[in-house]
């Protein structure tokens, strides 16, 4: 009952708040969207390859009903339209010989801004930007040594950019490689012979889903990530250091990240998962927007993630991945699930969903009961449960008569 009232209140406030408060997405954020998409896909691949085996499925798209929710701020004014993001991902690995797993993975995302909302065919106006990124690759895992090797390519294609955006190569090809040994992984992205990014992760937390502990002090070990980004010819290289920490029974997590060499706070988040399988989550986030205006520099927001639906308001994930969209409720229809040895869990979760094993137990019990009821040789069986087959009985009686 309480949940129903909560959802109703959420729905009403969403309807009321949507048209009134919405801030425009920026041309700059759209121009650098390709790099953000590529980095995000590699980060998700890092999460999924923590076990190196099993499978993963993800599909989703943002839904904003009104043109005023994510308008575009250009030099000419504010254009009504939609920031959009469609994504799908899949990973599957099979055991080829004992302890040797070979897998294939593909991540696809199409996003940008367009004057109309659409599924397949955008309007392509003078101010649209439609871009897609695909990451694919093969993985090999030696599960006895807890070692994963993966590598592949990344394609970044620009379908359409309006004249207000800076010039961009319409087709870029990157390569990537991922190496994981135990709790440590290194990931690199390259353009020809030039490195673009390097991510070093130390996921020290013990996760039951990958054969670790269910509880205890080992589950409270921190997860560190150090990501280096190539600043290009004119810019300086930058580093982002992130720290994820289990705060309470793998249900409450704290996250904080800092940027170097500027030594500045980047973002922080408090995430609560009612179940450690991370299918449902609640998060409160804070992000530095780098607009340099005192208190307005920090963006406070939150999101509710309900397996099939995510609703966010000023959340740092949406701000960073949907071209600085803020000031409005953003819905995302989605479905995302990872699996390992038949157990299901959300991406990055330390434990699997509990319902799977209960179901199996119940099924087995039913089968046992059925077997007892239909045992024919039991003398105690009641008369109503005998099998009748009239044809056979007729034949038997005839042959018996012949013998006499």
């Amino acid at each position: 009952m309480k949940l129903r009232y909560f959802l109703k209140t959420l729905g009403c406030s969403l309807l009321l708040a949507v048209p009134a408060l919405a801030d425009a997405v920026s041309v700059d954020a759209l121009a650098t969207g390709g790099a953000t998409m590529r980095d995000n896909q590699l980060r998700e691949i890092r999460d999924v390859l923590r076990g190196g085996r099993g499978g993963y499925l993800d599909i989703g798209f943002n839904y904003m009903p009104l043109v005023t929710q994510t308008p575009l701020k250009s030099e000419y004014g504010e254009h009504d339209g939609f920031a959009f993001r469609h994504h799908a991902a899949g990973f599957g690995a099979g055991e080829v010989t004992k302890n040797n797993h070979v897998g294939f993975l593909a991540w696809i995302e199409r996003s940008g801004w367009d004057g109309e909302d659409f599924f397949l065919f955008p309007h392509y106006s003078s101010f649209s930007a439609v871009r897609s990124v695909m990451t694919w690759g093969f993985s090999y895992t030696q599960s006895a040594m807890d070692l994963t090797l993966a590598a592949g390519m990344q394609h970044q294609n620009v379908e359409h950019v309006g004249e207000i955006y800076p010039d961009e190569n319409d087709s870029l090809l990157y390569s990537w490689a991922h190496l994981r040994w135990g709790h440590t992984s290194v990931q690199g992205s390259f353009h020809r012979t030039d490195w673009r990014s390097l991510r070093i992760s130390m996921d020290l937390e013990s996760r039951e889903v990958y054969g670790g502990r269910k509880s205890g002090p080992l589950t409270y070990l921190p997860n560190f990530e150090v990501a280096l980004y190539n600043g290009g010819e004119d810019g300086d290289d930058s580093v982002r250091v992130s720290w994820e920490q289990n705060l309470l029974a793998q249900r409450l997590y704290g996250e904080v990240s800092f940027d170097f060499p500027s030594r500045e706070f980047h973002s922080a988040a408090l995430k609560f998962y009612p179940d450690a399988s991370r299918m449902i989550g609640f998060e409160a986030t804070c992000l530095r927007r780098n607009v340099r205006s005192g208190a307005a520099d920090l963006l406070w927001g939150g999101a509710v993630d309900l397996l099939f639906l995510r609703i966010a308001y000023n959340s740092s994930y949406e701000y960073e991945h949907l071209y600085h969209a803020k000031g409005t409720f953003i819905a995302e229809f989605k479905f995302s699930l990872a699996t390992i040895d038949g157990f299901l869990f959300g991406r990055g979760a330390p434990r699997s969903a509990p319902m799977e094993t209960m179901k199996l137990e119940k099924k087995n019990k039913d089968i046992k009961k059925d077997n007892n009821q239909f045992r024919l040789d039991q003398s105690t069986g009641s008369a109503t449960k005998t099998l009748e087959a009239t044809g056979v009985r007729y034949e038997k009686s005839q042959s018996a008569g012949g013998e006499k």
Binding site: E75, Y76, G77, G81, G115, E116, F118, F119, H123, S125
Partner: protein, 134 residues
């Protein structure tokens, strides 16, 4: 195949959900949302000629021509299509004469354009032009 059979109902559910999601977005909004503006301007002044209508950038440094036609008093322009839906500065260039001669004056106005067919009637005199969408 066994997997498919066992999870048929669940998969059907997911399929139905994604179908209903499909209906929510995309083409449906095109029934009532337009991504283009089709502008026609009528010069309803008595003693001014409209020389051009332009969209000007917020800092005033660049502009894009929209109606590139001289409209004498009482004339109407052709319908011009543009990707202008939202809030923009429009610059109306006009002269204080009935034959488009003399000094070109400018008037800068902010308009909220909702898209679709827009019929802009310009009234008033050289001191102050009045704008009304019909």
């Amino acid at each position: 195949m066994i997997f498919l059979k066992r999870h048929a109902s669940r998969m059907l559910g997911i399929l139905l959900l994604s179908c209903s999601a499909l209906c929510l977005s995309g083409c449906l909004t095109h029934w009532f949302v337009e991504a283009e503006s089709r502008l026609q301007v009528e010069n309803a002044t008595k003693d001014c000629s409209i020389v051009a209508v332009e969209v000007v950038s917020l800092d005033g440094s660049t502009s894009k021509s929209w109606i590139d036609e001289t409209l004498l008093p009482g004339e109407r322009s052709r319908v011009e299509e543009g990707d202008w839906v939202g809030e923009f500065h429009l610059r109306i260039k006009y002269t204080n004469s009935t034959d488009a001669s003399g000094e070109v004056l400018e008037d800068l106005q902010t308009f909220e354009l909702d898209g679709g067919s827009l019929y802009l009637v310009i009234r008033g005199n050289a001191e102050s032009l009045e704008y009304k969408f019909k």
